[in-house]
Each structure stands twice: as structure tokens, then as C-alpha cells.
Amino acid sequence: MGYSLEVQQRFHSPQRVGEFAAGTPGLVTGEAEDRTLNVWVRVQVQVVGTVIRSVRYRVFGCPHMLAAAGWVAEALQGRESHTMRELDVHEMREILDAPVEKLGKLLVLEDALQACWQAHFVSAQAQKGS
């Protein structure tokens, strides 16, 4: 299988891997998996006000999945928080030049981000309420 330079570079030199220190403010975590596709991902997003300050992740899966997680972590940084739920997996697949069979795996990443958004939304509501 051929991998695009984008995938190779992100695979071999991943950025933003790991977790934030416990107690970091504005932190939301989303996790998703698909056992039949052998992928699992956990994403942590730090939101300050309405802006994503930084992202961390852990991932188990194929090179495209690893690269995708790194790409998303970089892409979200500095963006409005609602971009979390607006990930365009088709665009991402194009950027990574991933084969169409990989789409299912990339959707798991979308799920994790949706989970982050949900957590963020809940906590934002809670803050409003308090």
C-alpha cells in the first residue's frame, strides 16, 4: 500500500500525543472505537472561552488513523469550539489521500470529536446554569 507524504510524515513524527495534566481547565474528553475495524481513539480538547486552545490524543489503529488524529489535533487548535463537531471526514480523506476503504475508520475519529463536543456542550450549559 502506498502512503501519502502527509500520512508518512504524521505517522513517523506525531505531534500532540498524550494527555493534559489532570485539572487543566476547560478540558473535555471524547473516546470512540470500532472493534471490527480495529480502531480506538481518545481525544482531549482544551477550550478557553469559545476557542480551542490545544488538543491531545491517543490512538490505536492503522497509519491513516494515526495520521488523521494528528491532523485533526493540529487543525482544531485556535479554532472556534464548534468546529469540533464540523469535521469533514471526506475532506480529511482527501488531504491524507487515504483509500476509500479507510472511510469507516475515519468516522470513528468523527465520533470521538462529537463526544468531545457533547461533553463541552454539557459543561458549558452547566457553567451557564451555575
Binding site: M1, Y3, Q8, F11, H12, P14, V17, G18, E19, E33, R35, T36, N38, W40, R42, R58, V59, F60, G61, C62, P63, L66, E101
Partner: protein, 389 residues
């Protein structure tokens, strides 16, 4: 370490041995042995002489008479000719075929095609070491069983089946036995004078011969329907102009493949690799620990996606399992049959060593695999338990 690829995928295919290439080159030269071996003129007869010499070389390597070796385009065709050919030729006597779940696709897909044509197929299930007990074969034989097809050396795990005992079960019930021995030559002896096998598939490109040429051993008197028609070559069972250079290459490759001399060297390389990699946390061997070919080491690295490991060590050519499944996303049917989960099957790697493998390559591989497994596990820190089960 040099930049060039380290090749540990000898079970997928081998480079051509320089001595084989030299023998082939003679047929590829303008004044070389290029004529059609079926032509009656002297140039054709000289080419035929080379073909027959190669047939004898191959026959000698498997302890069989020369006239039992029929040339094909490879083991895939040999498996098809054996199974389709025997089942169709005996369709009026019996319509039952026995094979196993860990066979190569050339056997399994052919068996499935026979099922579609109304034949009945029993798929034996190996134990967790990958072995089929001869008693399983005996128990599966029915009155209308025509053929048993069991491979010798498994291409993914290297596990070796007990063909001698399986052959006795078949012989005592007057059932034909086909053996896929594509992986065996030069690694594990193929003593056809001791096996009760009626059909045996052979190929050149797993043993430093060219790709695109193989053979089927056919015990005299075994009835086979041809897959193709046209021309009297190979007694009409396999028509088509004989590819002299390919056949000469296969002959030379078989002549060179001295199991007694090579198998211990391969085993030493494989054991060196296993000694180094067994230090990795949780690593396990797939397949029987001793009843195995010296050239294959199939390992599972729990918690490490196989595709990612392969990209991580991209300068080392290894494969998940069968090369012909490389683009298929499903888990290896062989490892599943051994009882591995899809996840663990997906975390498995086949390393296969060969004639040109050097100790330094093994050592470099150990170093690189160890480092990359650690890196990928770190990346997946905190992953749930199913990722490693």
C-alpha cells in the same frame, strides 16, 4: 546499517538465484535455446532436451519419476488442476472433497467453486497450533469422498502437517490425496516415494526460481480433467507452448535446493530472530512451536496494529500473511482458524527468512521492531483491553 530494504518476505516470493538466472539467460539470448520445444526441427529438439533435463531435476528433488512431473504456470494453477481436475474426472464415482480451513486461497477458493458446482466440501478445523490430526481426516472420509486436499507447509505460519500419516488414511480408504507443497522445497523434505500422495502442487518462485512456472506431480494412473484445451503439450492435460527458460530456471532452482544443507541455516536465522523478539512484552508465536518449517516466524504483537508496525519498519519487507491478500481488509483466515481474534490476527506479522538473509539483517530487525512496537504502544496508551486480546 545500509539504506536498502531488508527482505524478510521469502515466503511471499524469493529473488532468483544467480545460478538460476544464468541458466535462464542462455535461453533468452538471440542464439540461445529459444526454439519451441514442440517443434520437430533440431533447434526445437534441443529445447525439448533442456525441458526434459529440468523435469528430471525437479523429479529428483521430490524423489519421483520424471514422467510424473507436469509443468503449469505455478502452484495456483497446479492446485486448481489437481482439485478441479480430480473432482470433475471422478464426478460419477463421488462428489465429496475434504480440505482444511488453513489452506491457501488457491485451494480454498477452488473448493468453494466446486461447492457452487454442486460438489460437497468438508472443511477440517485445525487445533490452536494449526495442526490437523490424521484421525480428523479419517473420520471425515465418506463413501463418496473423491479427494482430500491438505497442504504440507502452511504459508502463513510455517506449520507442517503430517502428510505421511494423512496419506495412509487416504490410501487405506482408496481416496485420492492432493498436497499443496508450494512452500516446502528447500525447507522441508518432500519424499514422494514415501508419501501416499497422488497429486502434489509445486512452484519455482518460493525457492529462488522464476515466478510464473510450477508443476503438478501426478501419480501414474490418476485421472484428471484438464482446465484448458489445445495442443498436445504435457500429454494434453496442460496445453500451451512450453516456456523453456522458465522450466530451465525451475529445474536449476530445484537442483540447488538442498534441504539438508539449507534448512539448518534457515532455522538458525529464524531462531536468532525469535530469540531477539521474544523479549518484547506479550509477544507470542502463532502456530506449533516445533512442527514447523525453518523459514517462517509468525508473531503477534498485542496492542500494535499490524499495518502501522509494517509502516514503522518500512525498510524491512515483511507481510501480514499471504501476499495475495495484501489489499484485502479481512483478517487472515489462517490465524482465525488458529483461534486468534480479528484484533490479534491484525497484530500479527509474518517474518520469513531465506538463502540471502544475513545475521546483521536479523539483528537490525530485532532492534527496529522492538523500538517501533514500543513507540506504537506508547501512542496507544490507555487503549481498552480488547486492543490486546
Amino acid at each position: 546499517m545500509t539504506k536498502r530494504t531488508i527482505y524478510l518476505d521469502y515466503a511471499a516470493t524469493t529473488p532468483v538465484d544467480p545460478a538460476v538466472a544464468a541458466a535462464m539467460r542462455e535461453c533468452l539470448e538471440p542464439d540461445g535455446n529459444f526454439a519451441n520445444p514442440s517443434s520437430s526441427h533440431s533447434a526445437g529438439q534441443r529445447a525439448l532436451g533442456r525441458v526434459e533435463e529440468a523435469r528430471a531435476q525437479i523429479a529428483a528433488r521430490v524423489s519421483a519419476p520424471a514422467d510424473t512431473i507436469w509443468f503449469t504456470s505455478g502452484a495456483t494453477e497446479s492446485d486448481n488442476l489437481a482439485i478441479q481436475g480430480a473432482m470433475l474426472a471422478h464426478r460419477d464415482q463421488g462428489r465429496h472433497l475434504i480440505t482444511s480451513r488453513t489452506e491457501h486461497k488457491a485451494v480454498l477458493d477452488t473448493a468453494a467453486a466446486m461447492e457452487k458446482q454442486g460438489f460437497e466440501v468438508t472443511y477440517l478445523v485445525c487445533d490452536s497450533d494449526g495442526l490437523i490430526a490424521p484421525e480428523q481426516v479419517a473420520a471425515a472420509i465418506k463413501d463418496d469422498t473423491t479427494l482430500v486436499s491438505i497442504m504440507h507447509v502452511n504459508n502463513e505460519t510455517g506449520v507442517v502437517q503430517d502428510i505421511t500419516a494423512i496419506g495412509e488414511c487416504c490410501r487405506s480408504r482408496a481416496v485420492l490425496l492432493h498436497v499443496d507443497a508450494a512452500q516446502s522445497i528447500g525447507k522441508v523434505p518432500v519424499p514422494l516415494d514415501q508419501w501416499a500422495a497422488d497429486l502434489v502442487a509445486l512452484t519455482a518462485h518460493k525457492v529462488y526460481g522464476p515466478k510464473g512456472i510450477g508443476a503438478l506431480y501426478v501419480r501414474p494412473g490418476t485421472k484428471l480433467a484438464p482446465l484448458m484445451y489445445g495442443g498436445a503439450q504435457e500429454r494434453g492435460v496442460r496445453p500451451g507452448t512450453l516456456a523453456t527458460h522458465q522450466i530451465v530456471g525451475m529445474g536449476q532452482a530445484y537442483e540447488l535446493a538442498d534441504t539438508d544443507r539449507e534448512a539448518p541455516v534457515l532455522a538458525a536465522m529464524r531462531d536468532r530472530l525469535w530469540a531477539g523478539l521474544s523479549a518484547i512484552d506479550g509477544v507470542r508465536l502463532n502456530g506449533h512451536p516445533t512442527q514447523r518449517s525453518p523459514h517462517v516466524l509468525n508473531l503477534v504483537f498485542p496492542g500494535v496494529d499490524g499495518e502501522s508496525l509494517r509502516l514503522g519498519i518500512a525498510e524491512i519487507a515483511v507481510s501480514a500473511g499471504a501476499a495475495c491478500n495484501a489489499t484485502a481488509p479481512e483478517a487472515s483466515h489462517v490465524l482465525s482458524a488458529l483461534g486468534l481474534s480479528d484484533t490479534l490476527a491484525g497484530s500479527s506479522q509474518r517474518f520469513s527468512v531465506g538463502r540471502f538473509t544475513e545475521p546483521a539483517e536479523i539483528d537490525y530487525t530485532i532492534e527496529r521492531v522492538t523500538a517501533e512496537v514500543a513507540r506504537l504502544r506508547e501512542l496507544a496508551g490507555g487503549a481498552p483491553a480488547w486492543c490486546t486480546n
